[in-house]
């Protein structure tokens, strides 16, 4: 994807931080001047990318999500965000993707810390199709962007058009609204099928852009539901659920809303296994959504 964008736009640079052998080899071969093969030096890479961006380049950086956010946090805040540098941070393995590699490699607070930075844009796509529609828009988007990647080869569930900063209604219902970001859209769609069988009418609101947040539309949609459940592959602290809670608590709804967050507990995940096994262990599955919804609408 970055290859295709770079082919069309000479301002685009790519920086990899000690990636796997052969990554983007076509880019490297055809545009070596704009392909920077750097080492395990995230702080340097972010600041250096800021220097390139201040000279008019648009820089895409890829490495493992947690190293791209935590390791170089101050460089992101000061060198990128303060200067509105057009640098795109593409974090591989957001959430629990690197479960077999343990807690050093998990990115379960990335959305929280990126969301706290002024001028930052935060995106988590549901699948490759949504990514494909999103990426061309990153070229001219102002300021830095954090893009949280999923595992890859995730089930394609997204549809329709895509604009950065917009939220998408995948279903309209009456009883409960499921709010998703990233791959939890597929969990919500699965849960909806099960809930409809139980005669519970379910809406789905997909929030791929976590910052800037389309609060106006979210509020409008929230109004027509009594129960709202947010689902995310992220810590309870500071992610999708937190941002929805912020909106709900300041909304002064005339009626009472019932709100629950399905997210990872505020602790380091124990054990290893696969991403899916960790999601099951932490009660972030379609079944858990169904259970939570049933209890809420009773």
């Amino acid at each position: 994807m970055v290859y295709r964008l770079a082919k069309k736009d000479k301002r685009i640079y790519f920086i990899g931080s000690d990636l796997g052998y052969g990554t983007l080899s076509r880019f490297e071969k055809e545009m070596p001047e704009r392909f920077l093969k750097e080492g395990v030096s995230e702080a340097y890479i972010i600041a250096m990318a800021a220097g390139l961006a201040l000279e008019g380049k648009i820089v895409y950086i890829n490495t493992i999500a947690t190293f791209l956010t935590r390791r170089c946090f101050e460089q992101i805040v000061i060198d990128l965000a303060l200067h509105k540098a057009k640098v795109r941070l593409i974090g591989s393995g957001g959430g629990l993707v690197y479960a077999p590699l343990g807690p050093t490699h998990l990115a379960i607070e990335d959305i929280a810390i990126m969301r706290a930075i002024p001028n930052m844009t935060v995106i988590a796509c549901a699948d490759a199709k949504e990514m494909e529609k999103m990426m061309p828009q990153t070229v001219d988007w102002p300021g830095p962007i954090y893009i949280r990647l999923a595992k890859g080869n995730d089930q394609i569930v997204s549809r329709g058009s895509f604009r950065i900063g917009k939220v998408y209604q995948y279903a309209q219902g009456k009883d409960v609204l499921l709010v998703t970001t990233g791959i939890t859209l597929q969990l919500a769609m699965e849960a909806r099928k099960k809930l409809e069988r139980k005669k519970i009418s379910v809406g789905i609101l997909h929030v791929p852009t976590l910052k800037p947040l389309d609060k106006k539309t979210i509020l409008k949609i929230f109004k027509s539901y009594r129960a709202i459940i947010s689902i995310e592959e992220h810590s309870l602290t500071g992610g999708l659920g937190s941002s929805m809670a912020e909106i709900i608590s300041e909304a002064d709804f005339a009626d009472r809303k019932f709100f629950r967050r399905l997210a990872l507990p505020d602790e380091f995940p124990a054990g290893y296994g696969s991403q899916k096994e960790q999601l099951v262990k932490n009660n972030i599955t379609a079944g858990d959504i169904v259970q939570t919804a049933v209890k809420l609408v009773k």
Binding site: S41, A47, M48, A50, G51, E55, E74, L82
Partner: protein, 253 residues
């Protein structure tokens, strides 16, 4: 500036005054009436706490009116305790240490790729060189063969808490930079002629980033501020203390 604000990193500024004077009087290419002129040499004051001298020189050169200087650190000013990129003539915001060198590498690399001839100067501190990010960046300046990058080190051998030798000794300092692939030179950082003669012909060596160690005295120019860690940063600049400073400056002349 100090009298109005009552505070500031005076000693950090005094140790770089001559370096900045040589750069802005003789070395850097710039246009004060067009600070964004694409062919300008880029200058980054990575040790942002040295901004008092920097602001004075930028104002002297006409980047902004001198009257603005007295607004230093006031609520509505653009001249804060560390320089911001919104100030005409300032490339990037600094203050948190250890950022400027890597950003400068990005700028120098962009110039190389675009086949442009301007140069990038980054002034760092010795205390700043405690930051791992300085050495992380240093690893890459030689890799990219950035002979359009000149790093100036304000080596006053003092940091906020005391002598660098006591906090963490940087020696052998020149050897460290040499081994990272820099072309290294040293100068008396208060002798303008010497600084100029080192910088008049660049690069130091083709295909290598240059590094000039400037041996300086923190708080240079006033007896009570020289090599005195109490003067790294002060918030009590009024009354008698200011009078003593003014007197000290008179004596230096």
């Amino acid at each position: 500036m100090l009298a109005q604000a009552g505070r500031g990193h005076l000693a950090s500024a005094f140790s770089i005054t001559e370096i900045l004077l040589v750069l802005y009087n003789h070395i850097l290419k710039y246009r004060p009436n067009n600070p964004e002129w694409p062919n300008r040499d880029r200058f980054i004051l990575s040790k942002g706490q040295g901004c008092l001298s920097y602001y004075a020189i930028l104002a002297e050169k006409g980047f902004f009116p001198k009257e603005k200087l007295t607004s230093f650190c006031q609520a509505e000013t653009f001249l804060g305790g560390h320089p911001e990129h919104a100030i005409p003539g300032v490339e990037i915001s600094t203050g948190s240490l250890g950022h400027g060198l890597a950003v400068g590498i990005g700028m120098a690399l962009a110039a190389k790729r675009d086949k442009k001839h301007h140069r990038v100067f980054v002034l760092i501190g010795d205390g700043e060189s405690n930051e791992g990010s300085v050495w992380e960046a240093a690893l890459y300046a030689a890799k990219h063969r950035l002979d359009n990058l000149i790093v100036l080190v304000d080596y006053n051998k003092m940091q906020s808490w005391g002598a660098t030798k006591e906090i963490v000794d940087l020696e052998p300092f020149a050897d460290k930079w040499l081994s990272f692939g820099f072309a290294v030179r040293e100068t008396d950082g208060h002798d303008k002629r010497q600084i100029y003669s080192q910088l008049k012909r660049l690069p130091f060596k083709k295909n290598k980033p240059g590094l000039l160690i400037c041996h300086t005295v923190k708080g240079k120019g006033i007896k009570m501020t020289e090599n005195n860690p109490e003067w790294h940063h002060r918030r009590d600049l009024k009354g008698e203390i200011m009078q003593n400073l003014y007197q000290g400056l008179e004596d230096y002349r």
